[in-house]
């Protein structure tokens, strides 16, 4: 397979566009039809073959443009397999390089650089910090070392002519270094950036939510919404599964009594399923300030996933936020909610009694209640009685606590008193934890 295409596929795979082998073959067939000449035609065609969703299309378009933005015509590359023909000796290469520099052969240099890049394996770049190293190795491949040796020898000669020549060489050398770095930089954009991004995301998924800084919020939001989407597609599908295909004999006999019992009309059994009904109550008070932005983010995503969800937020007074989550976009919604309910001092008792008085109709046998908070209630009455009632009335009560279990019960933490009335009490401090818990919740409806 020609290396132009394989490298593009490689870049796509790194950037989370999973191009399968079958699709690679299709891509190859496509290129056979379109050729490399009409760039737009090629791009449109390959996009239909390799990028299979809107996001993948965006990634594809970006990478395609980057990939083909090289200085030279990529048509050269496929037939210039590295290591083809006689391997050149170091001197020859240096000689070639010198010649190209002196004659100002830009295309030749660029091609030599492509070849050196392939030799060194620049497409394996993962982090931008590798740029300098890889650039140097490429230039060594092209024979820069010999060039440098000659330059030093010229300087040593210490004659007028030699010095000028050496100075020229030196200039060419720094020019080359710059070009090589640029080349590697471009390769990094194609192959490496996505890998770095994924590394950061992996790290974020595992790090504690409270440790995540403001600058990571954007990345975090992407992570969370992707998680929500994943959960949604997994569970919406299963919810639709019905029990089909068994004959309902009683109904069939009844319906066909008129035909002398000959079963012209058949009736089939169907099973009804409960729909997930979720009430989420989120603590946004001072003590969980770092955490609540993130929890709201999660609630926002859940809102898009679960059809019947009611969300509440509180510091002390309980505030229904379902409408805000529904109608505003994520940033505005979080800002508004935090402004209205956030950063006060916590009072779980007040919040629970508000729920009891104002929104008790939301809780019934089908409801799963998710409490998100640290259970620190400033030594006020936590109204355990309402918690007990909640436990009895709802299908499940799940408490997700950002603190580690070792801290439960210390200071004003009421977690141990709430715990008996929760079906599940779990520490939940990373995105991974969250995904697992929510997965559990949704599965309980199947």
């Amino acid at each position: 397979m020609d290396s132009t295409l394989t490298n593009l596929i490689k870049a796509l795979r790194v950037a989370d566009v999973p191009v399968s082998i079958g699709e690679s073959i299709d891509a190859l067939k496509t290129v056979a039809i379109t050729g490399y000449d009409d760039r737009q035609f090629l791009k449109d065609s390959l996009a239909t073959v390799m990028a299979k969703s809107e996001e993948e299309k965006a990634t594809f378009n970006r990478l395609f443009d980057l990939y083909f933005s090289r200085t030279i015509d990529p048509n050269f590359i496929p037939d210039e397999e590295p290591g083809n023909g006689e391997p050149q000796s170091d001197e020859e290469r240096a000689e070639n390089l010198l010649q190209m520099i002196q004659s100002g052969d830009g295309t030749g240099l660029a091609m030599a650089m492509e070849r050196a890049g392939q030799e060194v394996g620049v497409e394996n770049i993962q982090f931008s910090t590798q740029t300098g190293y890889l650039a140097r190795r490429m230039l060594d491949e092209m024979g820069l070392r010999q060039l440098e040796e000659r330059m030093i020898a010229l300087y040593r000669e210490n004659t007028e002519d030699a010095s000028t020549e050496a100075a020229e060489l030196n200039e060419a050398r720094s020019e080359l270094l710059g070009q090589a770095r640029e080349f590697v930089g471009r390769q990094f954009e194609v192959y490496g950036e996505a890998a770095t991004e994924r590394f950061l995301e992996d790290y974020l998924e595992r790090s504690r939510l409270t440790d995540i800084g403001r600058h990571d919020m954007d990345r975090m939001r992407r992570l969370v919404s992707r998680m929500a989407k994943r959960l949604a597609s997994k569970h919406s599908r299963r919810r639709k599964l019905k029990n089909r295909g068994t004959l309902d004999i009683r109904k069939t006999m009844r319906a066909n009594a008129g035909y002398d019992g000959v079963p012209f009309e058949t009736k089939w059994r169907q099973k009804k399923r409960d729909k997930a009904k979720v009430v989420a109550i989120c603590d946004v008070s001072q003590s969980v300030a770092n955490y609540s932005r993130f929890l709201l983010m999660l609630l926002y995503s859940l809102n898009e996933v679960i059809p019947e969800i009611r969300s509440f937020a509180f510091s002390a007074r309980l505030l229904e936020i379902s409408d805000d989550l529904e109608s505003l976009d994520i940033d505005d919604a979080i800002k508004k909610i935090l402004k209205e309910a956030g950063f006060g001092s916590t009072d779980y008792g007040q919040a629970l009694s508000d729920l009891r008085v104002n929104s008790w109709d939301a809780i019934d046998r089908r409801t799963t209640v998710i409490m998100l908070g640290d259970g620190r209630s400033n030594y006020g009455d936590p109204r355990i009685d309402i918690m007990r009632e909640l436990h009895d009335q709802a299908k499940r009560v799940i408490w997700l606590c950002p603190e580690y279990p070792t801290l439960w019960g210390t200071g004003d933490s009421e977690i141990p008193r709430f715990a008996p009335f929760c079906h599940l009490m779990r520490p939940c401090s990373t995105v991974k934890d969250l995904e697992r818990v929510i997965d559990d919740i949704l599965r309980s409806y199947e």
Binding site: K29, F41, D44, A47, T48, S53, L241, K242, F264
Partner: protein
């Protein structure tokens, strides 16, 4: 492969032109996808918001190629009985009831159980033959002698099992009926699947299809589309209303208006003898464009400004000319 296709779609330019001749304003991407689909003999999965002309593309392609359009509308609970074929159960039963009377004549001279069974065996093939087969869209499409355009509409509405069931048909263009054997199409149909993305389509299916995303059109193309659909409309009104809809799409709305809404709106404005887009007019006809009360309310105070821009742009352009 391509040579087996009786109807050749032609080059990308020809496709664009051909679709244009039947009233579908194509883009480079759309035509390219059709071109590649024909040459690789692969189905196309078309995604995009509702009302941007996904289904229409299939209809127009059928019209352009003069092939029959066979449509399978997907929904939750759709199974192969409704998509592929079914035995005419009622007819089978009816025939058995009638034959019951004849049973005695047939079995009359049989003296043992095994010999009467032998006689009966001649019948069961009869009941599972062409005469009792009810072909559904997929089978119909495979059996078309000249080829066909097969539209599998809103595949995202169907269940996951149905997707899996489609795989054989989409990659081999053949299907196996246990009683009859494998049916293979002489001329593979051009298959278009559409999805509104209410759920993620499975990877296996995606891998077998080409993927085409049709988004909202840009201003120029939208004008062309409206022009093609609502022929009597004046230049001025057309430009203004399209500009207005384009602005509307930049707002935060639950459901953005798509092309079909623009076309409807253009028809309404034409009926009302409007010659330009004015705030009052817009307000009274807003429910054609926006389908949620909250959406209508949220843009209400921006209408004046948006109409101004829509009209202003037009004025600037005419000054330039």
């Amino acid at each position: 492969m391509a040579d087996k296709n009786v109807k050749d779609l032609g080059t990308v330019e020809q496709i664009t032109e051909g679709l244009g001749s039947v009233g579908y304003i194509s883009t480079q991407q759309i035509s390219t996808a059709l071109y590649i689909a024909q040459n690789l003999r692969k189905p196309i999965l078309i995604e995009g918001p509702a009302g941007v002309g996904k289904t229409d593309l299939a209809q127009s392609t059928a019209k352009y190629t003069e092939l029959p359009l066979i449509r399978l509308q997907c929904y939750e609970g759709l199974d192969e009985g409704k998509a592929l074929y079914e035995w005419k159960y009622g007819k089978q039963l009816l025939y058995t009831q009638i034959l019951k009377e004849k049973l005695h004549d047939i079995l009359g001279d049989a003296d043992s159980l095994s010999s009467s069974l032998d006689k009966l065996h001649d019948f069961d093939d009869l009941f599972f033959s062409e005469g009792f087969l009810e072909p559904r869209p997929l089978l119909t499409a495979l059996r078309q002698k000249e080829g066909a355009v097969l539209l599998i509409d809103e595949i995202d509405k169907s269940d996951e099992e149905f997707e899996a069931f489609l795989l054989e048909i989409l990659s081999e263009y053949q299907v196996t009926i246990p009683e009859l054997g494998t049916v293979k199409s002489d001329v593979p149909p051009l298959v278009l699947l559409t999805s509104n993305n209410t759920r993620e389509i499975g990877d296996a299916l995606k891998r077998r299809c080409l993927h085409l995303y049709i988004g909202f059109p840009e201003e120029k193309r939208e004008r062309q589309i409206v022009q093609a659909r609502v022929p009597g409309i004046s230049e001025t009104l057309l430009a203004q209303l399209v500009s207005f809809v384009q602005q509307l799409r930049e707002q935060d709305l639950k459901k953005l208006p798509s092309i079909s809404e623009t076309v409807d709106w253009a028809r309404v404005l034409l009926l009302m003898h409007a010659d330009k887009v004015e705030p009052e007019l817009v307000r009274s006809t807003m429910n054609v464009l926006l389908k949620f009360e909250t959406d209508i309310q949220s843009v209400d105070n921006k209408i004046v400004e948006m109409t101004k821009i829509a009209n202003g742009e037009r004025m600037r352009r005419s000054q330039q000319q």
